[in-house]
């Protein structure tokens, strides 16, 4: 077997040259392009990662902002609820005070009206009673009524303190008359009888005059020069009305 060493050498050199040629025209440009593509993909990936990171950061910021808004809303709702509760409490307290004041006012008004009504009723009752009594009294003969009145006058003068009775008697000194006013005119006999008994009770001899005043309703009044002794229903009813108006109940 014959080996051509020149051919072996030339083929070795040829292969070396081919390695260089393919490295120059194939591997280097292709690998460079692949590296560039990888770098670009990596760059785009990095950009995408940056964008993703930014998006995540913005999302986190938005979520934080939303959480802040929610917390702020919660706080606002809580504050509003507290304020509303306070206002409701204040209004309820004010309403209670107003209601209490209204009730007090109403109670007072009712009490006042009730007092007024009671007074009116008392007055009506007094008037009615007086009217009934006056009618009933009209059926009693005058001499009996006058007897009752003179007895009452005598008892009063008798029970009066000595000093007061003397002061009254003193007013009749020097002939000054004592005026006797009755609700209706006394018969002459009754008038004489009254004249005698009053002179005896007072211990005087002064002249006595008789007068009629229907406003007295019943009874009589002794008009001294500077004092009046009232024994009439008019004065009794007036006293009763005054007591009813002052104390709410007649005595």
């Amino acid at each position: 077997m014959h080996l051509d060493w020149w051919t072996i050498g030339l083929q070795t050199i040829n292969f070396g040259i081919l390695v260089w040629l393919l490295h120059r025209f194939l591997y280097k440009p292709v690998l460079t392009m692949i590296d560039a593509r990888k770098a670009e993909v990596r760059g785009q990936f990095d950009v995408a990662k940056d964008v993703e990171a930014k998006a995540k950061a913005e999302l986190a910021a938005v979520e934080a902002e939303r959480a802040g808004i929610a917390a702020e809303r919660e706080a606002a709702l809580k504050a509003a609820a507290t304020q509303a509760q306070e206002m409701a409490e204040a209004r309820r307290a004010q309403a209670e005070r107003d209601a209490e004041a209204l009730m007090d006012s109403t109670r007072k008004t009712l009490a006042s009206e009730r007092e007024g009504a009671l007074d009116e009723a008392r007055r009506i009752a007094l008037d009615l009673g007086s009217d009934f009594a006056q009618r009933l009294l009209a059926e009693v003969p005058m001499q009996y009524r006058a007897e009752a009145w003179i007895e009452r006058i005598e008892q009063h003068l008798k029970a009066m303190p000595q000093a007061e009775r003397e002061a009254l008697v003193q007013q009749l000194a020097n002939g000054k008359p004592l005026a006797i006013v009755t609700a209706c005119a006394l018969p002459p006999a009754t008038a004489d009888h009254w004249n005698a008994r009053l002179r005896q009770s007072l211990g005087v001899s002064s002249a006595m005059t008789f007068a009629v005043d229907p406003a007295l309703t019943a009874g009589a009044e002794l008009h001294f020069p500077t004092a009046i002794l009232r024994f009439s229903w008019q004065s009794a009813l007036a006293a009763a009305r005054m007591e009813a108006g002052a104390h709410g109940q007649p005595r």
């Binding site: 051509d4 072996i8 040629l21 393919l22 194939l26 292709v30």
Partner: protein, 223 residues
């Protein structure tokens, strides 16, 4: 057809140097590969077109095969091993063309390639391990293996050469015989088989070279 398939007849002489047919065929293959690569890689783009995609697929596929065997970055080995595969594919298949002899069908071309692989293995081994470390690897796993390891370096290189030469030469020889005996269209199935054999032999030669280099750099177990 030559009288002996084992000898190369000079086409012309360049001084004392005899220029044989395999050398001229290799020059044509070199020129064609360089021009095609130059043409295709003239305007590469980030978004590849069809031709660029095919070219990138070939390069990335070869690099992937190298990485699968060596289990290291393939780029330092890609120019040698990639060129070896591409050249062997083109050279083996060139014999199918009418009037063209495959350069690998003559003993000198496989011998040259085997020599290149032989020295490349030592180059990459020394570069990866250092001279002492690389030499020490010959005594692994036992010192007694030293002669056998040295002998295997020579025999496996010889095996590379003979395997490639024998397969390609025999294919062409059989096709020539059938053409001479049976006629023009009878050897077509044999030519298809020769294409398959050419591709397989290119792959085997390149993978074995890769394995030898991987063993030298220490990433593949010797065996």
């Amino acid at each position: 057809m030559q009288s002996s398939p084992l000898t190369s007849t000079p086409l012309f002489h360049f001084g004392p140097v005899a220029i044989t047919r395999p050398v001229v065929t290799t020059w044509i293959i070199m020129a064609a590969l360089a021009l095609v690569c130059r043409f295709v890689t003239r305007r590469l783009a980030i978004l590849p077109d069809g031709r660029q995609a095919v070219l990138e697929g070939i390069v990335v596929g070869i690099a992937g095969q190298i990485e699968d065997v060596i289990r290291k970055d393939a780029r330092p080995f890609l120019p040698l091993l990639g060129t070896l595969f591409i050249f062997l594919v083109v050279a083996n298949l060139s014999g199918v063309l009418p009037g063209v002899e495959a350069p690998t069908s003559k003993i000198e071309t496989p011998a040259a390639l085997a020599l290149i692989v032989f020295f490349s293995v030592h180059y990459f081994g020394i570069r990866a391990r250092g001279l002492r470390g690389y030499l020490a690897s010959f005594a692994e796993p036992k010192l007694i293996m030293l002669p056998l390891n040295i002998l295997s370096e020579i025999t496996r290189t010889f095996s590379l050469m003979v395997r490639l030469f024998g397969n390609i030469m025999s294919g062409e020889f059989v096709i020539g015989l059938v053409v001479a005996l049976a006629g023009l269209f009878v050897p077509i199935p044999l030519m298809a088989l020769e294409i398959f054999v050419g591709l397989v032999q290119a792959y085997i030669f390149t993978v074995l070279a890769t394995v030898f280099i991987g063993a030298a750099v220490g990433s593949v177990a010797k065996g």
